[in-house]
């Protein structure tokens, strides 16, 4: 049935019972509407955050355009195809990560980029999608909840790229990738005893991690989080200024383009990682609640797609992608508000930047592919 519909010529769309342009192009309309609302809001905030720079808005708009195209293209591909290719892409991705170690390009003391004929990209970004795809592929045909040895293999699939990325070093991306893989395992129904066991282990290993794994600048971020006043001009500056920006916004905000913290350059990274502070300062708690509501609706739609997916693969992947999106939101909003240490995680689809936007939208394309499969299966 699905194959049949896919092969329908455009003119004979009325052969389907509920023919629409959206379903013909495998678009999930509620998700698309929510994403459009979110990205528009994002551009609005960015215009102000960039100091009324049309150029910055236009460039971000172009990123969005590319990202939407990527999403729509991703939605056209059948889920089975993804599943079939997942392990090979995964291996390719690992290869690229290894290549970064040897021929990577550095910036700010970290080596994260590959340069191909003038075009620079971060292989770690692709892994954000490849890792959950691969773990889901691995677990899809197993009996769920997975047995211990499958969990171990899954963890290896997650751990290999996570460690490679951690060593670049890029704690934020490593955390996101690890989370995306772990969420698949979680959605597969892994027993609670494993989860609690892992939690205990994590707490127990915190001390050795502090001593041997974390880099000085990462420790500094955690110390700064605990007591930003200790280093008012250095690392604490960012947090003090962002909290001030947020707090001084109050309920209704200082008005669009009128945030003194952001407009007078007190706020660091106001276009990228700290853009939520601009939003909070200029639109107040009202604006924050609007944003959180938008995010929540997107998340619920993601979970809904997962619940209605017909295959384990689709379910696990949808759940993981949705939860990963949530982690972005939680970590970013938490760190800017001084709840979490500062790790380089952008506010999804609002922070300026190209790579994360494209990856995120590719993820939503995948969700749409899962959603369309489920709908087609209904017929």
């Amino acid at each position: 049935m699905a194959d049949y519909l896919r092969q329908l010529p455009q003119g004979s769309a009325d052969l389907a019972r509920r023919p629409s342009a959206a379903s013909r192009f495998h678009i999930d309309v509620p998700l698309l509407v929510l994403l459009l609302a979110l990205t528009s809001f994002g551009l609005l905030v960015l215009y102000s955050a960039s100091g009324q720079s049309s150029a910055a808005v236009i460039r971000q708009g172009q990123y969005f355009l590319v990202a939407y195209v990527v999403m729509i293209v991703a939605a056209q591909i059948r889920l089975v195809t993804y599943m079939r290719w997942a392990p090979w892409f995964y291996l390719g991705g690992i290869g690229l990560l290894v290549a970064v170690i040897f021929v990577g390009v550095g910036a700010k003391g970290a080596q994260r980029w590959l340069s191909l004929g003038g075009f620079r990209f971060q292989p770690s970004e692709i892994l954000k999608i490849l890792v959950p795809m691969t773990v889901a592929w691995y677990l899809a045909d197993r009996v769920l909840p997975p047995r211990f040895k499958y969990i171990v293999v899954s963890l290896a699939i997650v751990g290999l790229p996570a460690v490679l990325i951690l060593r670049q070093p890029d704690l934020g991306t490593a955390l996101l990738i690890a989370a995306s893989g772990l969420f698949v395992i979680f959605m597969a129904g892994i027993g609670w005893r494993y989860i609690f066991g892992a939690a205990v282990l994590a707490v127990a290993s915190a001390w050795p991690a502090w001593l041997f794994v974390l880099k000085d600048y990462q420790k500094q971020r955690i110390l700064t989080l605990l007591n930003p006043e200790s280093d008012k001009l250095g690392a604490g500056w960012n947090i003090i200024q962002s909290k001030t920006a947020i707090g001084s916004g109050g309920w209704s905000g200082k008005g669009w383009q009128s945030g003194t913290q952001s407009q007078l350059d007190f706020l660091p990274e106001s276009r990228t990682d700290f853009i939520i502070a601009v939003l909070a300062e200029e639109f107040g708690l009202r604006g924050v609640l609007t944003l959180v509501a938008l995010y929540l609706l997107i998340l619920l739609r993601g979970f809904w797609i997962g619940l209605n997916a017909k295959t384990s693969y689709g379910r696990m992947l949808a759940g993981s992608l949705t939860l990963t999106f949530f982690v972005y939101i939680f970590v970013n909003m938490g760190m800017v508000a001084g709840l979490l240490p500062v790790v380089g995680v952008p506010l999804p689809l609002v922070s300026a930047g190209g790579t994360s936007v494209v990856t995120l939208m590719a993820g939503f394309g995948l969700l749409m592919a899962i959603s369309t499969e489920q709908r087609i299966a209904d017929y």
Partner: protein, 614 residues
């Protein structure tokens, strides 16, 4: 694979998945709830404190330093004004790496160790976000270099400030004093509030004495700044109150005449208007360019001034203490007449030396080595003053005794600070038995009374004291506290009266006539300046010994090293009938009074005949 498929239970998997989704939704909702609670706490619960914080970030209270009062001479000639200069300052809070910034700045514009030193000291005393000055007086080129590199120097500010300037630096160096950068010690005493944004304070002289008047009141402005400390706009402004201008009694023409007349010699000239107590000239040579001190003098310049044998930083007019020599004789004469010990007719035999009863030591008259004998067989008071006879005053001093001498001379202001309105004044010494007992813990010897009687021995006076005493003589007893400043703003500064010197009119006249003949008499010790003089002047010469002359030795000028030569002194007032100027001149190691009286003549000529007369 077939085995796995056989064991898969789609219904159970779907159920587990639904449960997990529910858990996930719960976690998501709770986590977002936590986030919202955090934002609620920041934006609603602690709104006030963060709003204040953001205002404090944005709005900066900047002090507006007042404009320092100007200083004019009595003719309205500007002696101290303020010029706009550019200052390089640093706002510590805006600088990510202070050392790197200082290094970079040092590469862009010359910054001395002294600048750095001062900067670091001030850095510890600053208020948050206060700009701390690093380099003063930037040239236009330096400003341009800094402007070009501004983007890489956050927290570095270049702004204009008014800085003291002395158009006649050397001429008025000791009369005005100067301002300099506030040092640590001064910072403790100055009102912190009043001196926000002010980097300079009066260090010596009028600049220091009238600091409160000249300084004015600080103003404030609230400005909006960005994170880099750049002022974007002024929100509120309380203008500073400029310091009051001072108009001095000093006359630039007299000052210049005295300065040029002293020339290369070390010395001092003080001229006072006897009617008002106004100081019309205050010169001490060598002078120095006070402008050097305004911005922190370079150590090379400073050592040069400090180590010079001529001690240019020493204000001889008020700090220099010299034996007055024979210039005390008119006052001694008045004391003799008033005490009744002598009359105008009393004579003393003068063989050229004097001997105390029962003492073999001969106290010489200065004339002995020239003529081999005294001034005349018998000398009266008139002659004693006109020709400066020592023997007469040895005798008078012996009769008076040292303590009576103190009582008669003290009202002229000797041995006491004149309380002139400038700094660092010394009090000199007017000896008495009590003084010697207190200061040296020694008894008084009769021979010392004789030395004191001719203004030698322990007697020390400043040129300022001599000028005041001359003014008292000129006014027949009115004793006014000398004043450099005539008015501050529009308010006149009174020269307070001191207890007058009371004496019979006839006695005053006797002394005045003798002093007139010092200049105009045929045998007057300063008769050379009395030739073709178009007005009448009264004066008294003085020669002060620098080294003691041992018994039996004769002082021979040409054999004595320059710095051991006698000091030359001269006091004078004119016109004789109604004095409008009283002058004291001191020439260090001038050899004798002949080095001093031509200078007095030039100064008085300028005053009475105009600047072109000299």
């Amino acid at each position: 694979m077939p085995q796995a498929i056989a064991l898969k239970d789609p219904v159970r998997e779907s159920r587990i998945y639904s449960a997990r989704t529910l858990t996930a939704v719960l976690i998501v909702v709770m986590a977002l709830g936590l986030i919202v609670a955090r934002y609620y706490s920041l934006q609603i619960t602690h709104y006030e404190s963060y709003r204040t914080q953001s205002e404090r970030n944005r709005v900066q209270l900047q002090p507006l330093p007042p404009k320092r009062g100007l200083i004019f001479d009595r003719n309205g000639v500007l002696l101290a004004d303020n010029r706009a200069t550019h200052i390089l300052s640093v706002v510590r809070e805006r600088v990510p790496d202070l050392e790197a910034t200082l290094t970079r700045l040092g590469e862009l514009v010359p910054i001395s160790d002294r600048d750095l030193d001062n900067f670091r000291k001030k850095l510890n005393r600053r208020r948050p976000y206060e700009a701390v000055p690093l380099r003063f007086r930037l040239t236009e080129e330096e400003q341009a270099v800094l402007a070009v590199n501004r983007h890489e120097l956050p927290g570095v500010v270049v702004d204009a400030q008014l800085l003291r300037h002395y158009p006649h630096g050397e001429l008025f160096s000791h009369a005005l004093g100067y301002v300099g950068r506030i040092n640590e010690e001064e910072a403790l005493f100055l009102d912190e509030r009043d001196y926000r944004g002010t980097f300079h304070v009066g260090k010596v002289g009028i600049e220091k004495y009238y600091e409160d008047t000249l300084h004015g009141e600080v103003g404030y402005q609230n400005v909006e700044t960005n994170a880099h400390g750049r002022v974007l706009r002024v929100l509120e402004r309380y203008a500073p109150t400029p310091g009051e201008d001072l108009t001095l009694h000093l006359d630039i023409n007299l000052q210049r005449t005295a300065y040029e007349a002293l020339g290369e010699q070390r010395g001092a000239v003080v001229a006072i208007d006897p009617k008002t107590g106004g100081v019309m000239a205050l010169v001490s040579t060598p002078g120095f360019d006070t402008n050097l001190f305004v911005n922190g003098i370079s150590s090379a310049n400073y050592s040069e001034l400090r180590d010079s044998l001529d001690v240019p930083l020493f204000n001889r007019a008020v700090q220099g203490q010299y034996p007055p020599g024979s210039t005390v004789k008119p006052m001694m004469g008045l004391a003799g007449l008033e005490s009744g010990l002598v009359t105008a007719q009393t004579t003393v035999p003068d063989p050229g030396w004097y001997r105390l009863p029962g003492d073999s030591r001969r106290y010489r008259d200065w004339i002995l080595k020239i003529r081999g004998t005294g001034h005349a067989p018998e000398v009266d008071l008139h002659m004693a003053i006109v020709e400066s006879c020592d023997v007469y005053f040895y005798d008078l001093a012996r009769k008076l005794t040292i303590d009576k001498m103190y009582d008669y001379l003290h009202p002229f202001g000797l041995g006491e600070r004149t309380a002139v309105d400038t700094t660092n004044e010394r009090r000199g010494v007017l000896p008495s038995t009590r003084w010697k007992r207190d200061a040296l813990n020694q008894p008084w010897y009769p021979g010392e009374t004789l030395s004191a009687g001719i203004g030698q021995g322990y007697v020390l006076t400043t040129p300022m004291q001599l000028a005041v005493a001359t003014s008292v003589l000129a006014t027949k007893g009115e004793h006014r506290t000398p004043r450099l400043v005539r008015s501050r703003g529009s308010e006149l500064v009174e020269a307070p009266l001191q207890p007058p010197v009371v004496a019979t009119e006839a006695h005053w006249n006797t002394v005045h006539e003798a002093m007139r003949d010092v200049v105009h008499g045929e045998r007057g010790s300063a008769r050379s300046i009395g030739k073709d003089i178009p007005y009448e002047m009264a004066g008294k010469t003085g020669t002060a010994q620098v080294i003691g002359i041992a018994q039996g030795e004769v002082y021979r000028e040409e054999e004595v090293a320059e710095r051991h030569r006698n000091h030359g002194l001269f006091i004078a007032f004119a016109p004789y009938a109604a004095p409008t100027i009283a002058v004291a001149v001191l020439v260090e190691n001038g050899g004798g009074s002949s080095a001093a009286y031509p200078i007095a003549r030039e100064v008085i000529d300028t005053w009475l005949l105009g600047a072109d007369a000299g």
